[in-house]
């Protein structure tokens, strides 16, 4: 399979703290690649470096072989690198639909359209509609974020990301603060969207990660300590020590 997204030797320090230390990832097209690790491992910092919100100290990011390391956030989105946020960041004054439409219009290059009415951008509305449909939020599209439950708000983040039609979608703990059932809903969703985009997923629920990932990368203290398919990761003694700890990994 073709490598869709490649990160090579990424470094980011905050003073003396090496938050991201020589991290390399190779994400194949259409795969779910999960990133796991304890709090403070550097997962979000890695996301920030990849998506232009932080400047990495060293390392390269390639999308389909093109070096995109130094592009600003908004250009990376145009290239197809799209992220969601660990802490929900949707536009509070807008309805769910309007949130997604904003993203859809952006993807259609309408951000500098001064003359049309935003509400008359049919194609964008239809794209937004489709994203909301995919994540199962269509019935609640008229509600504003504050009127949505926590789980739906997290799902809205994903819908916004999908509307940008990404090559790679980076999901930073989409299930943060979710109940068991809601987590499973997101897990199914992630698996489902992987046929249109590659996914880099940060997720704490090991059971979910082991069941939906094609590849798993384990980070602690900024470093990658293991990388491979779920079967291999679940058996890795170093991973069990450092991260999985007492978690039951399953018999087979």
């Amino acid at each position: 399979m073709a490598s869709a997204f490649l990160i090579e030797g990424l470094h980011k320090s905050f003073g003396a703290l090496h938050a991201v230390n020589d991290v390399s990832l190779d994400i194949e097209a259409g795969q779910v690649h999960s990133l796991i690790g304890p709090n403070g491992a550097g997962k979000t910092t890695l996301f920030n470096c990849i998506t232009g919100f932080l400047q990495p100290d060293a390392g390269k990011v390639f999308l389909k072989g093109r070096d995109v390391t130094d592009l600003p956030s908004h250009k990376l989105v145009k290239e197809g690198i799209v992220r969601t946020f660990q802490i929900t960041q949707v536009f509070g004054e807008l309805s769910a639909r309007e949130n997604v439409e904003l993203a859809a219009r952006s993807r259609e290059g309408l951000n500098f359209d001064f003359f049309r009415k935003a509400s008359a951008c049919r194609a964008a509305s239809e794209d937004a509609e489709e994203s909301l449909e995919v994540v199962g939020l269509i019935e609640k599209a008229h509600l504003r974020p504050e009127e949505l439950g926590h789980g739906d708000k997290r799902v809205l983040e994903v819908a916004i990301g999908l509307a940008l039609n990404p090559e790679v979608l980076l999901l930073d703990e989409p299930t943060a603060g979710m109940s068991r059932t809601e987590t499973e809903r997101i897990a199914r969703l992630v698996r489902q969207i992987a046929d249109r985009t590659s996914v880099l997923l940060v997720e704490h629920d090991t059971e979910v990660v082991l069941s939906i990932s094609d590849t798993i990368t384990v980070m602690t203290q900024g470093r990658v300590i293991a990388q491979g398919p779920p079967e291999q990761i679940s058996r890795d003694p170093q991973v069990q020590d450092a991260y999985l700890g007492a978690v039951e990994v399953g018999e087979d």
């Binding site: 600003p72 908004h74 359209d113 935003a118």
Partner: protein, 335 residues
């Protein structure tokens, strides 16, 4: 969904929203007609002149609303856009041509150029840093206008700016200048209304809400801020041009920080993010100031106090309250 969107549009919600939109259009059209009819309703010349000034401030306040209300950029130096244009248009009218369109074009282009240059720096900022830097830039322009006597007339300002001409014919002060101002206000309002409802306008709301989130959906935050700053200054430039013709002169006080404070207060009291609210704020300000300054010396202080109280108890401004009442009259959703 597979169903045709046209069928969906016939839901009760949509038709109610539609009827509110039509009602809003009718209300706006009536307001515009009323504004245009004032000279024919037997208003006194004094009233006409005062209302001309009020409408000019209305255009200027709308230009600030683009920054404060729609983009969340609070400028403490918006006198710069207006004051700079009074000089640009005034000097042009005195030395080259008093043609209204030419003078306006010169003021708009000059304002856009200054907005672009200062914007390269200020658009890197937001919040209080943006506010302070815009204040500083305005003070610099004020100092230049005072010191560069040969060009700006120093503290006396420009004196003897001719009346504007329109298609080669001189515009008479009073009613004709009023009508010119009223038409300018209506044109600016319609263009800006279009702007804030456009895809570009919606990106401004995103930037106001959360710059990082806006960037994460592919919005070039700095460029959008730069463009809206330029549009805001250009609109302020229209106001400045009309003002220099109304006063037949320009004065450094138009660039003074107190003017920046006034227009900010007018915009906020009027109701940010509504466009029409700041116009109402401007009309109220000009007329109350006229009533009060003649008998009351502490006017500026009382206006400041009124402003603080209003922000505390009426944060959405006149326009915000009016919109809420309007929505209640035309509810979008049943029950």
């Amino acid at each position: 969904m597979a169903a045709s969107p046209d069928v969906e549009n016939l839901t009760p919600d949509a038709s109610r929203t539609r009827s509110r939109e039509v009602a809003t259009q009718v209300l706006l059209a009536c307001s515009a007609l009323l504004v245009l009819a004032v000279p024919f309703l037997g208003a006194s010349p004094f009233f006409i002149t005062l209302l001309t000034e009020a409408l000019i401030f209305g255009i200027w306040a709308m230009s600030l609303d683009l920054l404060v209300g729609y983009t969340g950029l609070v400028s403490f130096g918006h006198a710069a856009s207006f004051g700079f244009a009074t000089y640009a248009a005034g000097i042009f009218a005195m030395n080259v041509s008093a043609d209204f369109f030419l003078s306006t074009a010169v003021a708009i282009i000059a304002a856009a150029a200054v907005a672009f240059l200062t914007g390269l720096v200020v658009t890197r900022l937001s919040g209080i840093a943006f506010a302070i830097l815009t204040l500083c830039i305005c003070q610099v322009l004020f100092q230049i206008s005072v010191v560069w006597r040969s060009f700006t007339g120093g503290l006396d300002g420009l004196i003897g700016v001719p009346l504007p001409t329109l298609f080669g014919r001189e515009v008479e002060p009073g009613e004709e200048l009023y009508l010119l101002t009223a038409v300018s206000l209506i044109v600016c309002y319609l263009l800006l209304r279009r702007l804030v409802e456009s895809p570009f306008g919606k990106t401004l709301l995103a930037i106001r809400a959360n710059e990082d989130r806006a960037a994460a959906i592919g919005i070039d935050v700095r460029r959008h801020k730069l463009v809206i700053l330029i549009i805001s200054w250009m609109t302020g430039g229209v106001a400045g041009t009309l003002f220099v013709f109304l006063k037949a002169g320009a004065n450094p006080m138009s660039l003074y920080w107190i003017e920046s404070g006034n227009i900010l207060a007018i915009t906020i009291l009027g109701g940010i993010g509504t466009l029409f609210g700041p116009v109402i704020g401007a009309i109220g300000f000009i007329f109350i100031r006229d009533q009060v300054t003649t008998m009351y010396r502490a006017w500026q202080f009382s206006f400041g106090l009124a402003f603080v109280l209003a922000v505390l108890f009426m944060p959405s401004g006149i326009g915000g309250i009016a919109e809420r009442i309007w929505r209640r009259l035309w509810p979008a959703r049943s029950s």
